[in-house]
């Protein structure tokens, strides 16, 4: 397939801190360098965009040397942590700002759908706003007129269409704005996180529409989201950014895996304080969440087997030691408890492994609780701030697991339909 868009060495530099007196002196330096035909002196400085570390320069690279190509009809996902440069990239693609260096070449009209509804005027009616917003997004009046009925129908705001938008609920506003944008017909559509709005029903509708746009009409779509489930269901290929740098582009499944591995450390390892009680016979030191190959897992794709490893220290020889792992939902409703068989252990470091390979938990967060006891006598109980996250990404699509259902478990029952 032919290349419709090509990004070459895209970099974007931002100035840190407030715009103050320093700005005017830098501007003058820049202008002076420009007059003498020299390069911008501030392009050489600037540090990598790592949010959490202290800045060593007034400038930061929000994007650095990004290169990629988009083929016609491709639905390309762009993922990365907060501050990875996704939105900056989309801003450049949609011509809201220009790159500091580099070129984007395109063969098609680009329209962006960045956070809908900004063009609405509260005093105008829904219908008037459809025209206004459509025109802002680059449609002509005639184009909008042919789609007006469809837009109103899709938005589901028929009753209110001649009422000023200021009387709309926020949900209705979003619906209307999305509806206008969804009927845009650019060659390349750029979408940023718009699906995070509206109620569940409308989100489903919106995702369905996105699928139609990309699959049915063969439109090229660039899509930024934090919702890995949506990325997975919409995008064939995905780009991963990290601190403004390009990490990889490839099959969505593969890239999401890299992404999930990337943030490991925050949510896959939990360290516990050593208890103050000197006479304690045994205590847990650490809990890690891993897959069956012992890779740390920040989020577990739904359906993927996982293990919880509890590291614990035995201080004195102990009999009948039992390690327990409890799981509750975020509202503390118990889901299940597992206990190891009792063990007689000598002092040292141990690991208790809890493997989950049969029950499939639905996506969401669950609390973990740890209990160490000798027989029926409890030694240590930890229930603070230990979570396991099941992501929306689907590990393996098969009939035994229904990944978009409600409830805690996704395994399907054994079912049978027969004539009596």
């Amino acid at each position: 397939m032919s290349i419709i868009l090509k990004a070459e060495n895209i970099s974007k530099q931002y100035r840190l801190g407030v715009v103050g007196t320093g700005t005017i002196s830098h501007d003058i330096n820049r202008w002076w360098a420009g007059i003498r035909g020299k390069e911008d002196p501030y392009l050489k400085v600037g540090s990598e965009n790592d949010r959490s570390t202290k800045a060593d320069s007034d400038y930061v690279w929000a994007l650095q040397d990004i290169n990629f190509e988009v083929r016609k009809g491709e639905v390309l996902g762009i993922i990365g942590k907060n501050g990875a440069g996704k939105s900056t990239l989309l801003k450049i693609l949609s011509k809201v700002t220009i790159p500091t260096t580099g070129v984007i070449k395109t063969k098609g009209r680009i329209a962006s759908l960045l956070e809908v509804g900004t063009g609405f005027h509260p005093e105008l009616t829904g219908r008037e706003n459809i025209y206004l917003n459509g025109a802002i997004l680059g449609m002509t009046k005639a184009e909008i007129r042919t789609k007006e009925a469809e837009i109103i129908e899709f938005s589901g705001c028929e009753r209110y269409v001649d009422t000023p938008v200021k009387r709309y609920s926020s949900g209705m506003r979003v619906r209307l704005a999305f509806a206008v944008a969804a009927f845009l017909e650019p060659d390349i559509l750029v979408i940023d996180e718009v699906l995070a709005v509206g109620d569940a029903e409308f989100q489903k509708k919106a995702i369905g529409k996105m699928q139609d746009i990309s699959k049915g009409d063969g439109r090229t779509v660039l899509f930024v989201s934090h919702n890995m489930g949506v990325i997975q269901s919409l995008c064939d290929e995905t780009i991963l950014l990290h601190n403004g740098r390009f990490v990889e582009k490839g099959k969505t499944e593969h890239v999401i895996n890299t992404y999930l591995k990337q943030n490991i450390g925050n949510d896959a390892v939990f360290n516990f304080d050593i208890p103050k009680n000197n006479n304690i016979q045994a205590y847990a030191t650490k809990l890690t969440i891993v897959d069956l190959n012992d890779n740390l897992m920040n989020e577990i794709p739904i359906g993927k087997p996982w293990k919880v490893k509890i590291h614990f220290t035995v201080c004195q020889e102990i009999n009948n030691l039992i390690i327990g792992l409890g799981m509750t939902d975020m509202l503390n409703a118990p889901i299940r408890t597992s206990w190891t068989p009792s063990n007689n252990l000598t002092p040292g470091e141990y690991i208790a492994e809890f493997v989950e390979d049969s029950v499939v938990f639905n996506h969401g967060q669950y609390k973990l609780k740890i209990g160490i006891s000798k027989g029926f006598h409890s030694i240590q109980y930890l229930d603070e701030n230990v979570y396991i996250t099941i992501s929306e990404v689907v590990y393996k699509q098969d009939k035994t697991v229904l990944t978009n259902g409600n409830g805690v478990f996704s395994n399907q029952m054994k079912m049978n339909v027969y004539k009596t």
């Binding site: 290349i3 090509k6 931002y14 100035r15 715009v19 700005t23 005017i24 501007d27 801003k91 450049i92 693609l93 949609s94 011509k95 809201v96 700002t97 220009i98 790159p99 500091t100 260096t101 580099g102 070129v103 984007i104 070449k105 395109t106 063969k107 098609g108 009209r109 680009i110 962006s112 960045l114 956070e115 900004t118 063009g119 005027h121 005093e123 105008l124 008037e128 025209y131 206004l132 025109a135 802002i136 997004l137 680059g138 449609m139 002509t140 009046k141």
Partner: protein
């Protein structure tokens, strides 16, 4: 990629900028947006007001009335054979057009940063729409001026339309270009340096006093010859003076003034376009 294919790119986005990068084709493509913006500006301003568009008339009428009372009755400024109220109404209407053009285009980037930050369309559409919707308002105000003109004419006032009045639209265009040009310059600078915002709000007021709005140009030369150069080098003063000459047959008409005004206006307008063009691409990073 072969070299041949490279030429097929529809457009490129890069950091390179031309001095004047005015894409008329693109602006033409967005003409519907221009119309809708104008409509929005006109329709929404007086929503939920009782008098509605009547406010367009009330503003100049009362300003002209106040000027008449203060400058003509109290301060005794002579307006010749022309009724002072009509003299002031003409000046105020034209001045107002410039005033609203300048003040409402001068914050283009700051007030529209939310939408400019999300979607691309030729930014110049916004100030253009302001100029056009203000032109409509000016049209309404001109209508009220004509009404009073006819009224005074029939009550026997010595006022005469000059034959040059057919060039009156040229004056309006000059005034609009001046307002747009200055507005674009200021709006571009305001994105980084907010100081200008304060300057505009009282600067415009000061400017009115040196633009011969409420006195004839000849009067200032006569009364204050030492400082009259401020007014004489102010192109706006020539526009207003000439407009009164055309409409009321009072005051002076100088070819020097007209040519000087046209040149200054064109320079300001071009400068406005250049600065605006440079700003529109990156302002979102600094606004």
């Amino acid at each position: 990629m072969s070299k041949l294919e490279d030429d097929d790119w529809l457009y490129t986005i890069s950091s390179k900028r031309k001095l004047i990068d005015f894409n008329f084709q693109e602006i033409w493509n967005y003409r519907d947006l221009l119309v809708l913006f104008v409509k929005r500006d006109v329709v929404t301003v007086y929503k939920q007001t009782i008098l509605g568009p009547l406010w367009y008339l009330i503003q100049p009428l009362f300003t002209a009335l106040t000027f008449t009372l203060i400058f003509n009755k109290v301060a005794n400024i002579e307006t010749g054979t022309v009724p002072p109220f009509l003299f002031n109404l003409a000046g105020v209407s034209i001045w107002n057009y410039f005033n609203t053009c300048l003040t409402s285009t001068s914050d283009t980037f700051t007030t529209n940063s939310a939408i400019f930050g999300k979607v691309y369309f030729p930014r110049v559409i916004v100030p253009l729409s302001i100029i056009i919707s203000n032109l409509l308002k000016f049209g309404i105000q001109l209508f009220i001026f004509i009404t009073f003109y006819v009224f005074y004419k029939f009550s026997g006032a010595a006022i005469n339309l000059d034959s040059t009045v057919i060039f009156f639209p040229v004056l309006v265009v000059l005034m609009g270009m001046m307002g747009l040009g200055l507005g674009m310059i200021i709006s571009s600078l305001v994105t980084k340096y907010r100081d200008l915002k304060f300057l505009v709000s009282f600067g415009v007021q000061l400017l009115m006093y040196v633009s011969a709005v409420m006195y004839p140009l000849a009067l200032i030369k006569e009364e204050m010859p030492k400082v009259s150069w401020i007014v004489e080098y102010n192109p706006l003063a020539y526009i207003i003076e000439t407009a009164r000459y055309m409409l009321l047959g009072t005051g002076t008409f100088s070819w020097f003034g007209i040519i000087y005004t046209v040149i200054v206006t064109i320079i300001v307008f071009l400068l406005g376009i250049i600065i605006f063009n440079r700003t529109e691409k990156t302002f979102i990073d600094t606004v």
